[in-house]
Structures are given as structure tokens and as C-alpha cells.
């Protein structure tokens, strides 16, 4: 067993964006420019109020990033400002306890 109790965990934010496929590359570029050090990408299916899931060419993606609260706020603001008006996109944020906190960029609480 991995001695998890003895490992120091740090609280970061998990930002999840589910969006239509057409914005995938632009989103990933922006997220990294805003300070994310990595991401996880899934191809997903679904339907929402905009019915984007009806067309194959408008399939959806889900992007997860673990970032500091400051970066999380920037990412959420960016998505809201650029994409909420005309695109199928949802975004939500959760707190996560991560191991090896330094992987995810600077974190104020760590100092």
C-alpha cells in the first residue's frame, strides 16, 4: 500500500470544460497561455440546449485541468467571455486534493 496519509496533499482546483469540438484547439491554447501546466482531453457525446450533439461534425470534447485558484478564475472568465454567447459550452470548478502539488504551477497557499 502506498502510504497516502503521510504524503502531503495540496488543495487545487479542477476546472472541467465540456464544449463543442470546433473550439477544442483554441481552448487548449488559451488554457495553457493562462497558466495550466497540463490537461486531460476526452471525446464525449451529449446534448444540451443548443442541440450541438445532433451532428457528427459538432461532437463534443471534455477538457480537465488542475490549476491554482487564480488560474482557475482566469480560465473560467476566459471561457465565459469568449464562448458563452455563441457556442455550446459548459464549465464547472471543483476543489481537489492533489499529491505532488508542485506539478500544477505556483500556489499561494504553499508559500
Amino acid at each position: 500500500m502506498y502510504p497516502l496519509r503521510t504524503m502531503k496533499t495540496v488543495t487545487y482546483r479542477l476546472v472541467t470544460i465540456v464544449a463543442e469540438r470546433s473550439v477544442r484547439d483554441r481552448l487548449l491554447t488559451s488554457i495553457h497561455q493562462l497558466g495550466a501546466t497540463g490537461h486531460t482531453l476526452y471525446d464525449v457525446k451529449g446534448e444540451g440546449t443548443r442541440h450541438a450533439g445532433f451532428s457528427r461534425e459538432a461532437a463534443s470534447v471534455k477538457i480537465e485541468v488542475v490549476v491554482s485558484p487564480e488560474v482557475a478564475e482566469k480560465v473560467v472568465d476566459h471561457v465565459a467571455e469568449k464562448y458563452f454567447a455563441h457556442h455550446s459550452v459548459i464549465v464547472y470548478v471543483q476543489d481537489v486534493e492533489v499529491v505532488r502539488g508542485s506539478k500544477y504551477g505556483p500556489h499561494n497557499e504553499e508559500a
Partner: protein, 319 residues
């Protein structure tokens, strides 16, 4: 024409499309997995590129030059016609009219493939280099559509991103790349890959059409939202563009079969390249309009009635 129509309607390709639509109608659990759909579309686009390229390698430049120029002209003219029809007759707003114009000026590769098959079956084998015309017809209309929209006010999308999508999109890369491969390899060089890319082609097309039937039938759910005008537009605009395409084809020296296929290409509405570029460049435009019109109305119309009609027009004008 009745014989051609019947032969076309009863071909496995059209029947597979019908089966796909029936599967959606009866809520079957049939589903073409996304990776298979992607693989089939890559296969079909690369295969027509390869075939076109190897045909191009044995065609004198003079035979190709006029049809290419004619097609380029059509690619610029047809979105302008479509835009004006939508604005003046349909009273549609600028953004959605420009988006639809880009789709109806651009080309559907599957309509092209189906037309080639039907026309050849009817005894009018088209020229082998026609895939080159598909590549020529695909891009200009999307640029014209975006230009119309961007020249008339601020846009939420990105012009640069949309241009990148148009020029580096998978259909253009596979078509032009496939043609370059076929041209460099030549007729003899193509021999080793023929069993896969030529002999397997109609089978792969049948599977692809099964998926298209399902996608088209799903789009019909949005039919109420698009309205009567757009349904009429989705049938009548292709007939006008198709007749224009046949006429230009014959005038630039194509055979009756070649002109009929060019007519089908010009009449068709894009549903891969144009939606991808328009979604990036004109996100304000409602996809329900352009996807439902091009996939739910124009594609099924062309597949069943349109192609035999363009062949009849070509026979009448060129016979």
C-alpha cells in the same frame, strides 16, 4: 431518364442511405462508432484523391485547364447567387444567409462520388480527373461566404482561424494530398494499392451512406425550426446551381457524363469543410439552418432525384 432514376434509386448506396434513415425512424440501437465514421471518411477522400491524381498524370494540361477555370468561377458565383436568393426572397438575416451561401457554394464529396457512380452506370463514364475539380470547388465559396459576412460588420468569430480551418481541413489535405500521391505514383505505381483503394471503394461508400442516412434522419428533427422557405431553397437552389454546372461543364469541354457530375457537385452543399470553417468564423450563424438544409434536405434530394436530373439535363444540352 426513368431507367437511370430507377437504377440509381435501387443501387446499394442509396438503399443503405434509406436503411440508415429507417433505423433512426424505428429507434434501432444501430450505431456507427465515431472512429469507424472517421476512418471511412478518410478512406473515401484519400481514395478519390488517389484516383484523380493518377488520372491527372495521363491527362494533357489543356483538357483540364478550362474545366478548372470554369469550376473556380462557379465556386465564386454560386455563393453570391445563394446569398442574394436568401436575402431577397427569403428575407433571411445577413449572418445566416452568408453561412448558408458558403455551404451551397462549396461541395459535398459524397454527392460527387455518388454522381460518378450513377453516371458511369448509365453508360456515360466521366473524366478521371474530376476529383481535381472537387478540390477547386471546395474552398472559394467558403471564403466568399465569410467575406460577405465580414465586410458587413463586426464578427464574434476569428477570420484567421476560419481560413486556417478551410485550408488545412482534413478534406482538403486528403484530397490534394491524395492527388499529389496518385500523380507522383502514376498509373503503374497505383497498382499495389488498387485492391484496397479501388476495389473496396463501393463497399466502403455503402457503409458510409448507412451512417449518412442516420445523420440526415436525425437532422430532420430540426426541420420545423428551419421553415418552409429553407426546405424549398434546399431543393430548388441545387437545381439552379446543377443546371448551371452542367452548362459550364459542357461549355468547357467535359463529356456528357463529366458535365452531369460537375452539375451534381455544383448543386451539392458542403457538410464537412464548410460547417467546420463557418462554426469558427461565423459562430453567430445558427447551425440548425445550414446543417439541416445541407444534410437533411439537399443531400437526400441530390442522391435520389438530383443526380438523374443533372444527367438528363446534360444529355439534353450535350446530346
Amino acid at each position: 431518364m426513368a431507367d437511370v432514376l430507377l437504377a440509381s434509386l435501387l443501387s446499394p448506396v442509396v438503399l443503405a442511405f434509406v436503411l440508415g434513415a429507417v433505423a433512426v425512424a424505428v429507434r434501432s440501437d444501430l450505431e456507427i462508432p465515431e472512429p469507424l465514421y472517421q476512418a471511412l471518411s478518410i478512406y473515401l477522400l484519400l481514395a478519390i484523391g488517389l484516383k484523380g491524381g493518377s488520372a491527372l498524370s495521363v491527362t494533357p494540361l489543356a483538357d483540364v485547364a478550362w474545366p478548372v477555370l470554369g469550376t473556380l468561377g462557379l465556386g465564386i458565383l454560386t455563393p453570391i447567387i445563394a446569398y442574394n436568393v436568401l436575402r431577397r426572397l427569403g428575407k433571411m438575416d445577413r449572418t445566416n444567409a452568408a453561412a448558408l451561401a458558403a455551404h451551397y457554394g462549396s461541395v459535398s464529396a459524397v454527392t460527387f462520388i455518388a454522381a460518378q457512380t450513377v453516371v458511369a452506370l448509365a453508360g456515360y463514364p466521366p473524366e478521371g480527373f474530376l476529383p481535381a475539380l472537387v478540390a477547386v470547388l471546395e474552398v472559394p465559396a467558403i471564403i466568399v461566404g465569410l467575406l460577405i459576412a465580414y465586410s458587413r460588420g463586426e464578427r464574434a468569430g476569428s477570420w484567421q482561424e476560419a481560413m486556417k480551418e478551410v485550408v488545412t481541413g482534413k478534406s482538403i489535405v486528403l484530397l490534394i494530398g491524395g492527388m499529389a500521391m496518385g500523380w507522383i505514383a502514376g498509373k503503374d505505381g497505383m497498382a499495389p494499392v488498387e485492391p484496397f483503394f479501388i476495389h473496396g471503394f463501393q463497399g466502403a461508400l455503402t457503409l458510409f451512406l448507412l451512417d449518412m442516412g442516420m445523420t440526415a434522419a436525425r437532422r430532420l428533427r430540426d426541420l420545423k425550426a428551419v421553415g418552409v422557405f429553407l426546405v424549398a431553397f434546399g431543393i430548388l437552389m441545387p437545381i439552379v446551381h446543377g443546371a448551371l454546372g452542367v452548362w459550364v461543364g459542357l461549355a468547357t469541354g467535359l463529356s456528357v457524363g463529366g458535365a452531369a457530375v460537375l452539375g451534381a457537385m455544383v448543386s451539392s452543399a458542403s457538410y464537412i469543410a464548410a460547417p467546420a470553417a463557418i462554426r469558427v468564423g461565423l459562430p453567430e450563424a445558427n447551425p440548425a439552418y445550414y446543417l439541416t438544409a445541407s444534410l437533411g434536405i439537399t443531400f437526400p434530394f441530390n442522391l435520389t432525384l438530383g443526380i438523374p436530373l443533372y444527367l438528363a439535363i446534360a444529355q439534353w444540352l450535350g446530346g
